[in-house]
């Protein structure tokens, strides 16, 4: 199985005891959130997805709320055809069979039409593009090489992937990005993802939220969510 996972509680201590009884976290006004990254970014490549393992993984966690990067319109219309197989063939059917509630956190207003597939072709041009592609291949290799979620979750593999994603952002010129560019759309999109998770955490305080998104958004989401005092960012195993 190959998907990236959140692996740290940024700036927060681990939860004390099980979260099953909402009382403890509610009185503290905290909502436990874990972020899991799929390899949707690398979907055009022949990645051997193990969807059964993904289903078992999420079923075992049994979150109250499952945030997916899809639009409200897609959800309402049940228009799942363009979604990644992790969503379409694994997580949405799982939610239908369980008490897990799906919450679409995708950006309805996203005008650039950026999808996980588009992301593979976005990025810088020229020499930077060459380096960008090498880094991206390195991230893909690292994540594919993990034998389990736990393997992805530990040690140098995680830190290296995080560093590479930061470098890829830098090479893409994220800080000086022009509005309307494809990558600007990606940045706006990941900000929207974070905002919607925080809004959900405020609206349903204390419930266990699992966010499953493209791996390329994970490092940003972890940082963004960790900045909100009402969110308790946890490892998926602690959710």
């Amino acid at each position: 199985m190959t998907f990236d996972t959140d692996r740290r509680a940024t700036g927060n201590q681990p939860l004390d005891g099980p979260i099953d009884d909402r009382m403890d976290v509610t009185t503290k006004g905290l909502t436990p959130v874990a972020v899991v990254g799929t390899l949707a970014e690398f979907r055009p490549e022949p990645t051997p997805y193990d969807l059964v393992a993904l289903v078992d993984f999420v079923r075992t966690i049994g979150p109250d709320l499952l945030c997916l990067d899809m639009t409200l319109e897609q959800w309402r219309l049940r228009d799942f055809g363009g979604l990644p197989p992790e969503y379409r063939d694994a997580l949405l059917p799982l939610a239908q069979q369980t008490d897990i509630v799906v919450v679409p956190i995708g950006d309805d207003a996203r005008a650039d039409g950026l999808t996980a597939v588009d992301a593979t072709t976005s990025g810088p041009a020229g020499p930077r593009r060459w380096l960008f592609d090498r880094l991206r291949a390195a991230v893909a290799s690292l994540q594919r090489g993990a034998k389990s979620p736990v393997a992805v979750d530990r040690g140098a593999r995680h830190w290296m992937a995080e560093l590479l994603y930061h470098l890829m952002d830098w090479l893409s010129g994220a800080p000086a990005m022009h509005r309307g560019s494809t990558l600007h759309g990606a940045i706006t999109h990941r900000e929207a993802l974070a905002e919607r998770v925080v809004e959900l955490a405020r609206r349903d305080t204390g419930r266990r939220i699992l966010v499953v998104v493209n791996a390329r958004y994970c490092h940003y989401l972890r940082r963004a969510l960790g900045r909100h005092s009402e969110v308790k960012l946890v490892r998926y195993a602690e959710l």
Partner: protein
């Protein structure tokens, strides 16, 4: 026959097994719960309450408790006899001055409780609207993008505010509150 008794069961035990069709209660402070217990214990006999003061707040709860006749304590004997005969037949016996208003109050749907409606939060209104449409807790949670446990918590709160004990009672309350609810999409 006449006598004094404390609990409803005691009253019932004093009654002969045959030949009794009505029970007259002379209790100035008749409590609706006690009246309901008595109605239940006397197994369908007509119960007539004699009260010091006859007014809607006193009479309506007693009628809801199953008492079918109320009479002021200073009523003439002839009125008392007529009332006893009436309740013995299962008819409602009320002073004309209050009968129409009391029956109108009884005829009102139970759910027309604006105070309870106002006590419901906006989210609880959303939940009960979905409840009336026959949705499961998961359906409601998914529709509102809330966890199932949160919906369950809202339901418990709704039950408490409406004074109902079950999903069915809550639905009945909502349908009475707004008859169109049942058919709304």
């Amino acid at each position: 026959m006449t006598g004094t008794a404390g609990a409803a069961a005691e009253v019932a035990s004093l009654l002969p097994t045959v030949g009794v069709v009505a029970v007259l209660l002379d209790d100035a402070t008749m409590d609706p719960d006690a009246a309901a217990a008595l109605v239940s214990a006397t197994n369908g006999l007509g119960v007539l309450a004699v009260l010091d003061h006859i007014d809607l707040p006193t009479v309506v709860p007693l009628l809801k408790a199953g008492v079918i006749g109320c009479l002021p304590a200073d009523s003439p004997t002839s009125d008392l006899v007529r009332a006893l005969v009436a309740v013995g037949r299962g008819e409602i016996a009320l002073p004309p001055s209050i009968a129409a208003r009391a029956l109108a109050e009884l005829a009102r749907p139970v759910g027309l409780d604006r105070r309870a409606t106002n006590e419901l939060s906006e989210r609880e209104h959303d939940v009960i609207h979905l409840l009336v449409r026959g949705q499961t807790n998961k359906d409601m949670a998914q529709a509102l993008f809330l966890s199932v446990r949160t919906v369950e918590a809202h339901l418990r709160s709704i039950y408490a505010k409406l004074g109902v004990r079950s999903r069915t009672e809550a639905v009945l309350w909502a349908v009475r509150q707004s008859p169109d609810e049942g058919g709304r999409e």
